[in-house]
């Protein structure tokens, strides 16, 4: 999977967020707020193909967290971005 490079993570007064502009009246514009770890993962995987396993590993490498939590957080991060069609 890859992050769709048409999206740019923005910094607004120190908060990281994605703006997903709705294209039609029915499709609302969305703002997705990224916490520190989500933003770290975004920067880490922006330019490459990756797997959920690699995301989990990155969390384990970066933070003091147990494997189950890392696996869960990695899956959640991927799932959220897939839901919004940010991860292809």
């Amino acid at each position: 999977m890859r992050i769709d490079k048409r999206h740019t993570l923005r910094d607004v007064v120190g908060e990281k967020m994605l703006l997903i502009q709705g294209r039609t009246d029915a499709e609302k514009t969305k703002v997705i707020a990224f916490n520190e770890s989500s933003a770290m993962l975004w920067e880490a995987f922006l330019d490459k193909d990756f797997t959920v396993e690699e995301v989990k590993q990155k969390l384990l490498d970066t933070y003091e967290v147990d494997e189950a939590t890392a696996a869960n957080d990695a899956a959640q991060w991927v799932k959220t971005l897939q839901e919004h069609k940010i991860i292809l």
């Binding site: 740019t8 007064v13 514009t29």
Partner: protein
Amino acid sequence: MLLSIANKKVALSGGPEAEKVRTIDGFAPFVLPDDEACQPDCHVLFGQRWEEGNVGEELYAFPFEDADIRCRFVRDREQYLFYMLPGGDDASTLQMRYCCGSGRVLCATRSGAPTLDETMLRYAIWFAFVLLGIEMGVTLVHSSAIVNHGHAVLFLGESGTGKSTHTRLWLNHIGGSRLLNDDCPALAIEDGQAIVYGTPWSGKTPCYHNRRFPLKALVRLSQAPENRISRLGTIAAFAALQPSCPPALAYDNDLSGKVIRLISDTLTTTPVYHLACLPDREAAMLSHNTVFAQ
């Protein structure tokens, strides 16, 4: 001729349209006298050659509400193109071309087409200023701008939510209030301070003042059965302000990034509130007293 909008000098030239602007309702306070010669910050050039063969990606197609006109905003590599198509016609009447950083918008009318009428010309200059302005750190904010105590307050909200109604309540009930612009004031950052300017575009209310005021606060309005105001955190504040900036810019990554940077700089120094309210005096008192509490 030169216009001064949000303290940016916009030179209009190249065709009869440039002179016609002098006579359009609302532009008079923004026309610089001819003897005040100065260097323009940017240019809108009429009478240009129509450029054929642009393919590019359609960023945004939308109707122009005030007239039966369809608009298209397109990007072809480093060039942005804006087309206006009067209703029923298949062919565009107006083509505007702009390359980021060039400081120039080139306008061409299709040969054989009638010259632009006042409505289309007004809107064309609006769109040109949107493109030229954001490069210079200025954007237009769909809002009603009220001034009091030497500061501007911008009331945001979709059309019909009651921005004009609310600012009219300030005028009626809060002494010292003045309306700066009722639809589309300009926002810029100067020396780290957010500044609001009147513009030649004020929607249905003729309110044209070439004046500047520091921005005290932004207030997003919504209709509710009782009056309540709350301060918004960063994410919600961003979500309140971004939709009020020119929609066309939001569909291009580069232009959107510039708007977001301007919004971020504004939010660094300016509080944003959400006012849920009735169209009554108490609502105006509540927003005024909250915003000017210090």
